[in-house]
Amino acid sequence: MLLLEWMLVLGAASSISPVSICKADTYTQLLKAEATTLNASARDRIEALSHIYVAGRRASRAVGCRNKDRVIEDQFKAAALFANYVPDAEPLRNALAQYGLLVERGTAGAEHHRRLIGLHVARGDFAQAERLRRQWLSNVPAFPRVFPGRFPPGLPVYAVQADGSLVRDSIRLSGDQVVAIVHPRCGHSRRALQNIVAQPAYQGLRAKLVLVVPNGPHWAGDSIAEWNGLHPELPMSVMYMDKRWAAFDRQQTPVFHLVREGRIIETGTGWRGAGEEVSPIMRALRLASD
């Protein structure tokens, strides 16, 4: 996302002339783009969102625009949305700056607190999310405690403990592994996993399966704990949003990635019911005939 940083710098440099109308529709445009790119690849979707975000950011910096309430509101919501898609620091910095302005002006409300808390949750910063929750939204369930420590080498995840607390962990990629991006509240994911867990045909696949929940603004700790309690042999851990996950499609669930010595060599998306989505992976693992 170096490109994003550069586009912002260039945008700021070219916005010297005053703009008569300050547009504050970046957030609305991002929502529309989310809808129109529902079937696009993860990369194309991020690119579409990135263009809108960068253009809106540039316009918001125009003379006479940057201090308008509706522009601040729009920029905050746009940055909070875009920051869920990319691990870059810029949209997070922007969201925090705009939120600071909203608080300073006395216009920050429950909706703004909720979005910022969601952003911290999506970025895996549960301590900040919990601090804000206690300050502003104490009627919302508490966020989990994260044990001190660093992520070991590999793909960073949070391991969910029985009491709901989190431990920094990682998926070490050696040999063949099937990294499944799933969500305990996604019906398609659950039906896929129920089949994989129950059917003997998937025994070989199960031995190589690692379940990862893409983290987002809506914490699903109770659902993950419930799954892990029922299926201790195949627990779900939570993805820590980081560039090391860039090659994995984390925007949809379920997605099955066959990873060989650290490289994705096969991907199956969705679960219609018969398991045809994982057939190429099974064949590559020599668990099924052609």
Partner: protein, 175 residues
């Protein structure tokens, strides 16, 4: 004799392990079974709701009651909410929470979502306004309950059998 005891102990451990594994598998099946029965109830509520299809929505809007909870939303909010609705044979299976989250209290949102048999999804919106005792009651009974349903906040139902990230959307059971 000692060997016999060792063998017996080993057999006992094996038997215990097998029994424990079977018990764990049974517990998992029961847990998934509970979820499945809750899912069935949820689908019945959605299918039989007052508004369970685009056609029923049109009929409702044609003679909208003066006290309809839809009128609690602003004009923009209502437009955004209505254009976000997704229906299939299971009734409402997706909507945008944006207008509800920013404009309504718990009791207002409960009235509105009840039209679609979707009031349970309130538990996914923990930060709504609380203005009175009814709001508090609804917050307590929905947000703090651990209902086992497949409602996926922040995602939208996609035809190719996946849930796709989508801000302020909920991909509901039956998608």
């Amino acid at each position: 004799m000692q060997n016999c005891t060792r063998v017996s102990l080993f057999a006992l451990v094996l038997a215990y392990s097998a029994a424990a594994a079977a018990a764990a598998a049974a517990a998992a099946q029961t847990g998934d079974g509970v979820r499945e029965s809750v899912r069935e109830q949820v689908l019945v509520a959605q299918k039989n709701a007052q508004i369970s299809s685009a056609a029923r929505l049109d009929s409702y809007l044609a003679v909208i009651p003066v006290d309809s909870p839809l009128t609690l939303l602003s004009v923009d909010g209502l437009e955004q909410f209505l254009t976000s609705l997704s229906f299939n044979e299971n009734g409402l299976v997706g909507y945008s929470t944006e207008a509800i989250a920013s404009e309504l209290s718990y009791s207002q949102a409960h009235r509105l979502l009840s039209l679609f048999g979707a009031e349970r999804t309130l538990r996914l919106m923990p930060g709504l306004r609380v203005e009175n005792e009814v709001d508090l009651d609804i917050h307590r009974s929905y947000v703090q309950s651990g209902e086992l349903v497949e409602d996926h906040m922040g995602y939208r139902c996609v035809a190719r059998a996946t849930c796709r990230e989508s801000t302020e959307f909920v991909c509901m059971s039956g998608c």
